[in-house]
C-alpha cells in the first residue's frame, strides 16, 4: 500500500513548533532588544523580551492529534532543537 492511499480522507493541518531557550537560561538577544532598543527609546512597562524560533509545518493527517504527535516526534528525534539548552512546544493551528 502506498502512502497516498493511507492518507485518503486526511486533512491539512498547520502545526507550529516554537523553540526557545530554557527559561532558566539567559537570552542575550532578548536582553539586548529590551535594553538597547525598547528602554533606550523610552518604552516602559516591558519587563522581559525572550526570543524564539517558530517552525510552521503543513501536515496532512487524519486527525489533529496525529498531526501534533508527528511533529512532536520529528522535533525530538531529528533534534530540531537541542534538548540540553532549549525547549520545544508544539501547537496545532486551524485546518487549512
Amino acid at each position: 500500500m502506498d502512502s497516498k492511499s493511507l492518507l485518503e480522507g486526511s486533512k491539512l493541518w498547520v502545526v507550529e513548533a516554537r523553540i526557545q531557550l530554557k527559561s532558566s537560561l539567559k537570552d542575550p538577544e532578548g536582553e539586548t532588544i529590551l535594553r538597547d532598543l525598547l528602554h533606550k527609546r523610552g518604552v516602559s512597562g516591558v519587563e522581559e523580551v525572550r526570543t524564539a524560533k517558530l517552525l510552521r509545518f503543513k501536515v496532512r493527517s487524519h486527525s489533529r492529534e496525529d498531526a501534533e504527535s508527528l511533529i512532536r516526534k520529528v522535533c525530538d528525534e531529528l533534534r530540531l532543537y537541542n534538548p540540553v539548552s532549549h525547549t520545544c512546544s508544539v501547537r496545532v493551528g486551524e485546518e487549512v
Partner: protein, 741 residues
C-alpha cells in the same frame, strides 16, 4: 540542599584529610566549595604536573612561561605577544554551539588577563567519522558555527587551525582553541594580587546559575545521560565579551588596572584564590555584592557559578572613578565586591558576615596524585600489523584519498570565520602551511596548530614528536623560524594505567623534541576524562601543538601555491617507509597499525634552516610540508592552489631503509620533508646552499602544463588534470556538510 552533596563529590578522602590537616579544623561547606574548585584536575593539574615538568619552558624571549593565564613572549621594540590554548570538549559534546563559543570566550579572556589584546584565534577540532555519522556532522556544523559567531562578533580573526576525524571521537569531540594576543611590554599586568588596598571589581555579565560546577564537570567522564548535565550549559554572550575587550584595552592603555583575571572554571572561587595565592596578598570579598541575574542565589552558587564573560579587576582606590567611567561608557555592569588585604587569607562574606576564611597556604598546590602507568599491550599488535597489498590503480586510490575529510580542503570551515578583521592577516587560511599576521611592531609572525591522534594512538612518543615536527615544518614553509609553542594534552581517564602511560609518552615526545632544538613551551593545558561511560572507550591520545614563529622580514613570506611554469620541484629530506597512522592506511585500507614515522629533531632543524635560507636568497618560490596523504597530496595541493600542473618522477626521491613500493613513495608521511618550488635559473645556488646545510634533496620534476603527472621509473602512476584534482580536493568536505553530491 542538593548542592551540598555535590560540592564535596570530586575530592578524594585523602585530599579531604590534607585539607583538614592544613587548616587544623573541618572546613565549612563554602570553604569546601572553594577547595574543590581549586583542586579539580582542570584547575590544579594534580595528575599531570609532575609529568609536565619534563617540558622546557625557558628561553631568551620568554617573559612568562606556563603557570599564568597566558604565556608571554618578547617580540622586541617594546612589544610582547601572549598566547594560550584551551579546550571546551565536554561542554561541546552536549551543546556544540554554546560549548565551542564559550570556549573562544574563555581563551580570549585569558589573553586579556595578562594585559594584552587578542589579535588572532586558531582552532583544532576532532570529531567522529562524518562520512558515516550524522551526529558528528551535527557536532561539526554547530561547533564551527559557535566559533564563527563568537569569534566574528568580538572582532578577533580566526586565522588557522586543523581538523581530524576518527571513530574514537564519536562521543567525545575535541574542541581546542588557541588565542594570540599582543601588547606593549609596559602595559603587561599579571593576574595576581601583589598589593593590599586595591578594590576588587567584578565586571561584565551577571552571575547566574548557569554552568555551576563546570570545572568539576570537565574533570569527569561523559555520562550516558547527557540530559542530566543541563546545569552545565553556558549561554555565550559575545556582545559583552566584545565590550570587555574594548573597555579593558582602553584601561590597559591608560594603566588603570593593577591586575585582571578571567573567571573560568570554578568561577569566583578559583579566580579570587588564584589572584591571592599567586601574589601572596589576601582578599576580602562580600559575595552578596555581586550583580546577579537571579535573586535567590545562595552564597555557594554565587561563588562557583561559571557564568561567562565576567572578569575581576584589581583597582587602586584613586583610579576607581576613571575605571567606573570607562565601564559605564561601554555599558558594562560591574560591582565592587571587596578589597585586597594585608592578611594572607581568602575571606568571603555575605551581607557583611564572614562565611569562609581560608589561609593562602591551604589553597595552593593540591597534593599531586600519583598515577599508575603501564605500556598498553595493544601497541605491539598495532605495530606488527602487516602491510596491505598494493592496489593496482593508484590513480583511483589517489582520487579517493583527496576526498577524505581529513585531507580535502577545509575552506567550508574557514570561510565561515572572519579571518581578515583587524587588518593584520598577511597570509590567509589555506594559502600557506601556517597563517601569518602582522604584529603591532610591524614584524610578522606565523602561527599554526597541529595534531595527529591516529599516529599518537599507535605510538604516543613518536606521534607526539611527529606533531611538533610537522608544526615546525609548517612554520618554516611559511618563512618563519619557530620560536615557542603551547601544547594541549588530551586523554581519557588518568586513573587507567594505559591512558596515563600514553599521556607520559606524549609529553616526553614533545619535551624531547623541544629540548633538542631549544624551543620553549610557554603554556599549555591538560584535558583528561575524554571518554564515555557507556563504552568505557577513551579517545585516542590527542596532544595538540600550537606553534609560533617569527619572520625576519616581509620578503620571507612564503605560500604553498606553485608560482611559475618551468621551475624545479625539489623534495627536501629523506622519504621513509613507515605508514602507521598515515591517511593512506587508515582511509584507503582501513588499517590502524604499522610503524609510526620517527623524526629526528636535529635534522629537522637543519631542514628548517635550509628552507629559510633558500627563501632569504630569493630562489624559493613556494614551499609545502609533506604530511597527511604524503608527497602525492602535497604536490596536488601546490598545483591546485597555483593552478599550474607538474611532472614528478618517484624514483629520484632520496629514500632510507628498504626499497619502497610505489604506494609508499606516494603516500608515506614518513621522514621530515618539505616540497619546494625552486627558480630554475638559480638552481645552482640553491643546490650549493642545500649541500652546505647537509640536507638531502632531489629534483623530482618540473612545474608546468595542466596535468599532475607522476611516474615511477618512467611508467605513469598518476595522471590527472589539475581541474580533476581540484574538483575532488576542494569540494569534498563542503559536499559532505551541505548534503549535495
Amino acid at each position: 540542599m542538593r548542592l551540598v552533596e555535590e560540592v564535596a563529590v570530586t575530592l578524594t578522602s585523602e585530599e579531604r584529610e590534607v585539607v583538614r590537616k592544613r587548616l587544623g579544623r573541618e572546613p565549612n561547606i563554602i570553604e569546601w566549595a572553594v577547595i574543590e574548585a581549586l583542586w579539580s584536575e582542570h584547575c590544579s593539574y594534580k595528575s599531570s604536573r609532575n609529568i609536565l615538568k619534563m617540558l622546557p619552558t625557558e628561553g631568551v624571549q620568554v617573559l612568562v612561561g606556563p603557570g599564568f593565564d597566558a604565556g608571554l613572549i618578547d617580540i622586541g621594540d617594546g612589544f610582547v605577544l601572549s598566547v594560550h590554548i584551551e579546550s571546551h570538549n565536554h561542554p561541546s559534546a552536549i551543546d556544540p554551539y554554546g560549548g565551542a563559543a564559550t570556549g573562544i570566550g574563555g581563551v580570549v579572556r585569558d589573553i586579556l588577563s595578562v594585559g594584552t589584546r587578542p589579535v588572532a584565534l586558531l582552532d583544532s577540532l576532532r570529531f567522529g567519522e562524518i562520512e558515516s555519522s550524522s551526529h558528528s556532522r551535527w557536532l561539526l556544523r554547530n561547533v564551527v558555527k559557535g566559533i564563527a559567531d563568537y569569534g566574528n562578533c568580538i572582532g578577533v580573526p580566526t586565522i588557522a587551525g586543523e581538523l581530524e576525524f576518527d571513530q574514537s571521537f564519536e562521543r567525545n569531540c575535541l574542541v581546542d582553541v588557541m588565542c594570540i594576543g599582543a601588547g606593549r611590554r609596559e602595559e603587561v599586568v599579571l593576574p595576581m594580587a601583589t598589593r593590599p588596598g586595591c578594590l576588587v571589581v567584578l565586571a561584565g555579565n551577571t552571575t547566574g546559575r548557569d554552568g555551576i560546577l563546570g570545572a568539576s564537570f570537565a574533570s569527569q567522564s561523559l555520562d550516558s545521560d547527557e540530559e542530566g548535565k543541563r546545569s552545565a550549559v553556558q549561554i555565550p554572550d559575545p556582545f559583552i565579551e566584545k565590550l570587555l575587550i574594548d573597555a579593558l584595552t582602553e584601561m590597559f592603555e591608560q594603566r588603570l588596572i593593577s591586575a585582571v583575571k578571567d573567571l573560568g572554571g570554578g568561577g569566583l572561587a578559583t579566580a579570587l584564590s588564584e589572584l591571592a595565592y599567586k601574589g601572596g596578598v589576601g582578599v576580602d570579598v562580600d559575595l552578596s555584592m555581586v550583580h546577579r541575574r537571579e535573586t535567590d542565589m545562595t552564597p555557594v552558587e554565587v561563588l562557583v557559578s561559571e557564568s561567562q564573560e565576567r572578569m575581576l579587576l584589581l583597582v587602586e582606590g584613586q583610579k576607581l572613578e576613571r575605571v567606573s567611567r570607562m565601564l559605564e561608557k561601554y555599558e558594562l555592569q560591574f560591582s565592587i565586591i571587596g578589597r585586597t588585604v594585608e592578611e594572607r587569607f581568602v575571606r568571603l562574606r555575605w551581607e557583611g558576615t564572614l562565611i569562609a576564611e581560608l589561609p593562602l597556604s591551604v589553597l595552593g598546590d593540591a597534593p599531586s596524585v600519583a598515577r599508575a602507568s603501564r605500556r598498553p599491550e595493544y601497541l605491539d599488535t598495532l605495530r606488527n600489523t602487516p602491510p596491505p597489498r598494493e592496489p593496482e590503480d593508484l590513480n583511483k586510490v589517489f582520487l579517493n584519498l583527496l576526498a577524505s575529510p581529513n585531507i580535502s580542503s577545509k575552506s567550508w570551515v574557514y570561510e565561515q570565520y572572519d579571518y581578515e578583521v583587524g587588518v593584520r592577516t598577511v597570509v590567509k587560511p589555506g594559502d600557506a602551511d601556517a597563517a601569518i599576521i602582522k604584529l603591532p611592531n610591524g614584524k610578522l609572525a606565523a602561527v599554526k596548530l597541529d595534531g595527529d591522534s591516529k599516529k599518537c594512538y599507535i605510538d604516543p612518543y613518536r606521534g607526539a614528536m611527529w606533531i611538533v615536527s610537522e608544526n615546525f615544518r609548517n612554520l618554516a614553509s611559511s618563512g618563519a623560524k619557530p620560536c615557542a609553542i603551547v601544547d594541549h594534552q588530551q586523554f581519557g581517564d588518568p586513573g587507567k594505567p594505559d591512558v596515563y602511560w600514553c599521556f607520559k609518552e606524549c609529553v616526553r615526545g614533545v619535551a624531547d623534541y623541544c629540548m633538542a632544538v631549544g624551543v620553549p613551551v610557554v603554556g599549555g593545558k591538560v584535558s583528561f576524562y575524554n571518554e564515555d561511560l557507556v563504552s568505557g572507550r577513551a579517545i585516542k591520545p590527542s596532544p595538540v601543538i600550537g606553534g609560533i614563529g617569527l619572520l625576519s622580514d616581509e620578503d620571507m613570506v612564503t605560500t604553498l601555491s606553485l608560482k611559475r611554469s618551468g621551475d624545479y620541484i625539489v623534495v627536501l629530506g629523506v622519504t621513509t617507509g613507515e605508514l602507521g597512522g598515515s591517511e593512506y592506511y587508515e582511509y584507503i585500507h582501513r588499517i590502524c597499525g604499522g610503524e609510526v614515522p620517527l623524526v629526528d629533531p636535529l635534522s629537522d632543524w637543519q631542514l628548517i634552516e635550509a628552507v629559510l635560507n633558500l627563501r632569504r636568497m630569493g630562489v624559493l618560490r613556494a614551499a609545502h610540508d609533506v604530511s597527511k596523504g604524503g608527497l602525492a597530496v602535497s604536490l596536488a595541493e601546490m598545483a591546485v592552489r597555483g593552478r599550474i600542473g607538474l611532472t614528478a618522477e618517484l624514483s629520484k626521491l632520496p629514500v632510507r631503509g628498504r626499497v619502497l613500493r610505489r604506494d609508499g613513495l606516494l603516500f608515506s608521511e614518513g621522514g621530515s620533508r618539505i616540497v619546494v618550488e625552486v627558480d630554475r635559473e638559480r638552481f645552482r645556488e640553491a643546490e650549493m646552499a642545500l649541500r652546505r646545510h647537509s640536507v638531502p634533496f632531489a629534483v623530482i620534476g618540473e612545474t608546468g602544463g595542466n596535468e599532475i603527472s607522476i611516474k615511477m621509473n618512467g611508467e605513469q602512476v598518476i595522471n590527472l588534470t589539475v581541474g580533476e584534482v581540484e574538483e575532488r580536493w576542494h569540494y569534498s568536505l563542503e559536499r559532505l556538510m551541505e548534503g549535495y553530491s
